[in-house]
């Protein structure tokens, strides 16, 4: 029904709708589109890096531009591609899985998206305005303090704005899961993806503030002449590394835990079996999150923290392999004895297990502080983290997109094209990154612009570049799949014979999600009703008017205010007139905050009659 209404609207009404929406499903579309755009951008940057390294002493790009490429590839992929796509998936699916009509703070949800979008835009505009950040994605204070131009300033302002949005998302999702679960949806009946969303949000909440502070300190030092990292005035640059990794290590679990949730859903659905070891999976997720906060200094083994600190962090790091191993075995045992269907979503999940396990094992190798002196800052590290981030997060994103595409967009992705996406990408990943381990062991340092001929690095780099292009081919086929599928047949409500609540509503879900809140009778509620009931989820309340939040343009405008003040911060060191932008932008955003605060917003009600009509339409 909603789609026929959409077809009649003009283009501008469509745009206005998305600019003002507070609906979690539409915000998910925005996140996926925004994250997808930055994913392509980051992918192009990766290809440029690999072209530069295709042969010894190549001069495809200059050394300075190469530094900008590696910095922006890392920053873009982590903050602007992987995280937004993950947040988009959570937005689309988590409220449906717990039987809620929206998230706890729909307005904040929209604000989170727009802050991410304008933060990412600001960061990438640096390419056009005199040079991008060039001190690596970590932007260590030693390098970033001395980087000329405004590149690093863009890094600071862009990430600060986008990071604020992410923090709000974390708070929003935790509150949603705590207060808005449907009747009967106890914590230990929540699907694994919802659990992963919950734990990931806790990680975001506690991991992002140190990054915020770190960016502030760097900003004060670079733009306002303070002395946090200025050794001449007693500053200490190791503080930057600590704060960065206290954020940075949980960040990698923010990237991977949601994907563990995704794979748990997919393995259970396509094995037609309950997830093996549900309780162990939940506690393993929590344990990984907890340990994830305890191991940051393994990124700093060579700083010189001393053997005791290094040993403690090494043991902690290796301990993470235990809960992760529990997960791997539980997935394998979920498939054991199940009726396994292998389709595109399942292929990504199956490809994930060996790929991620290899990444995990090199992780344990790196976790040994003694051996790490050899691996540190070499291509071995690059190979390791791409095995876990591409093999885990990117495979997970592709799996989730194939699995939930019908629920998010109302169309099933083409199976043949789906498999054609997987194989080049899967082979490409292993070609690109496996040889990087060997290159690292042979002494190739990371972040180097060129390498010399005949140092046994030539062949490995060539293979790596070929692999990168294969991944590009896979990604292009996926884009073709999206376009082809848009004209394909409409998806049924439950195309995969699903187990969880999101498959109990139409595809895509109506804007109010559930006309009546569902009553949950156990883990995998839809499956229970299919086996023991009539296949329909019982209602927990009589049909009545449904309360909905009002849309608003304020989140969009507020983010523009911060965007403008970001430019003010960056350029006020050149010219005092930029203070106008700095204070003007901030004042604009604060004024909008006050407007939001003093203007009553009670939301509106969908009358019962409209819901009745919709339900009748569904029954037909």
């Amino acid at each position: 029904m909603a789609t026929t209404v959409a077809a009649k609207r003009s283009f501008w009404e469509f745009i206005w709708d998305y600019l003002t929406t507070v609906d979690h499903k539409k915000i998910a579309h925005l996140y996926l589109a925004g994250g997808g755009f930055f994913f392509i951008l980051g992918g192009i940057e990766a290809l440029i890096i690999r072209i530069q390294l295709i042969k010894p002493e190549n001069d495809f790009i200059s050394a300075g531009l190469y530094n900008e490429m590696i910095t922006m590839h890392g920053t873009t992929m982590i903050f602007l591609a992987a995280m937004p796509i993950i947040v988009g998936l959570m937005n689309a699916i988590m409220p449906l899985q717990i039987g809620a009509r929206d998230v706890a703070f729909p307005f904040l949800n929209a604000l989170s998206f727009w802050l991410f979008f304008f933060g990412g835009l600001l960061l990438n505009l640096s390419f056009l305005f005199g040079g991008a950040p060039d001190a690596g994605w970590t932007s260590y204070a030693s390098l970033s303090m001395d980087s000329p131009g405004h590149g690093i300033d863009y890094y600071i302002a862009g990430l600060q704005i986008a990071g604020a949005g992410t923090l709000m998302t974390g708070i929003n999702f935790i509150a949603t899961i705590v207060t808005m679960r449907a009747p009967g949806m106890t914590y230990m009946r929540m699907p694994l993806f919802t659990w992963a969303t919950f734990v990931t949000s806790v990680l975001i909440l506690f991991a992002f503030p140190p990054l915020t502070i770190n960016l502030f300190l760097l900003m004060f030092d670079r733009m306002f002449g303070t002395a946090f990292f200025n050794v001449a005035l007693g500053g200490n640059q190791v503080i930057y590394q600590h704060l960065f990794w206290i954020f940075g290590h949980p960040e990698v679990y923010i990237l991977i835990l949601p994907m563990f949730g995704v794979f748990s859903e997919i393995f259970a659905t396509f094995s037609r079996k309950r997830l093996f070891g549900y309780t162990a999976m939940v506690f393993a997720t929590m344990l990984i999150a907890f340990l994830g906060f305890m191991v940051w200094a393994h990124h700093m083994f060579t700083v010189g923290l001393g053997p005791v600190a290094n040993a403690i962090f090494a043991v902690g790091t290796m301990a993470i392999a235990v809960p992760t191993g529990i997960k791997i075995f539980n997935w394998l045992l979920t498939m054991w004895g199940g009726q396994v269907t292998i389709n595109s979503a399942m292929l990504w999940a199956l490809g994930f297990i060996p790929t991620f396990t290899i990444g995990g094992m090199t992780g344990v190798m790196l976790g040994s502080n003694v051996a790490d002196y050899q691996y540190h800052d070499s291509y071995f590290v690059v190979g390791h983290f791409h095995y876990v981030i591409v093999g885990g997060t990117v495979f997970g994103i592709f799996a989730a997109l194939h699995y939930w595409w019908p629920k998010m967009f109302g169309r099933v992705l083409n199976e043949t094209l789906g498999k054609l996406t997987f194989w080049p990408f899967f082979i490409g990943v292993h070609l690109t990154f496996f040889v990087q381990h060997l290159l690292g062991l042979m002494g190739m340092p990371r972040r180097y612009w060129v390498f010399l001929e005949d140092q046994s690095l030539d062949l490995g780099n060539l293979i790596s570049t070929i692999g990168a292009f294969l991944m590009g081919v896979g990604a292009i086929i996926f884009v073709i799949n999206i376009i082809v599928s848009a004209f394909g047949e409409k998806a049924a409500a439950d195309p995969w014979d699903g187990r969880t609540l999101e498959w109990a509503v139409s595809s895509p879900a109506p804007y109010y999600n559930f006309a009546q809140l569902p009553l949950v009778r156990g883990l995998d509620p839809l499956w229970i009703e299919k086996m023991e009931g009539n296949g329909k989820i019982p209602a927990a309340e009589p049909l009545g008017d449904v309360h909905m939040p009002n849309g608003s343009i304020i989140p969009f405008l507020m983010s523009i205010g911060f965007f403008i003040s970001g430019f003010g911060f960056i350029y006020q060191t050149d010219n005092v007139y930029w203070y106008l932008a700095l204070y003007g932008g901030l004042a604009f955003s604060i004024a909008l905050m006050i407007i939001r605060s003093v203007k009553d917003d009670y939301g509106y009600y969908i009358p019962k009659e409209e819901l009745e009509k919709a339900l009748e339409g569904e029954a037909k």
């Binding site: 708070i171 808005m180 300190l217 004060f220 200490n236 503080i239 600590h242 009670y602």
Partner: protein
Amino acid sequence: MAQAHDHSELFPEVMPPEPEKATLEGKNKFFGIWFFLGGETVLFASLFGVYLALKNSTAGGPSSQELFGLGLVFIMTMLLLTSSLTSVYAMYHMRNNDFKKMYLWLGITGLLGIGFLACEIYEFAHYITDYGFTFRSSAFGSAFYALVGFHGGHVLFGICWLTTLLIRNAKRGLNLYNAPKFNTFSIYWHFIDVVWVFIFSVVYLMGKVG
């Protein structure tokens, strides 16, 4: 149909015992502010860490022993602790649906906050003009002003928040729409107070004695 929902459920004749948590929005705000403060805790913890690492890096400038005077800090502590207590009174009266008394105590809370902020501004001005101790003079200075200033910024934000709330709702009494807003502010204000207790101990006491 339309008249069925004029949002009258937000304006009941008899207020429930906990008006701040009577609606789903209220409950969400209650949990939301607690989680937000969880993040804020890490934010301040990071700044405390930075301060502890840099507090002896005076670069030849004045040290904490020479700078700090416990008299002023004692007054500031009393002002802020009392303001936390008065905001408890305000919430007590909110739950008794006594709008006027709630306003009175919230007003006092705000005034005490302004008093605290005035002392802090005086303190900073004193350090800058009499000792030449600034945000830029040493790593100790940077860390001190970042931590204490960040807390001061939070107090300022709280006062602006409270003022907006008080002006907006002055003429309409208590209802289930604005009760969660007052409560959210009160929880935030307690947090600011708790952070100050740590600043008082770690920065001033340890700076003077330790």
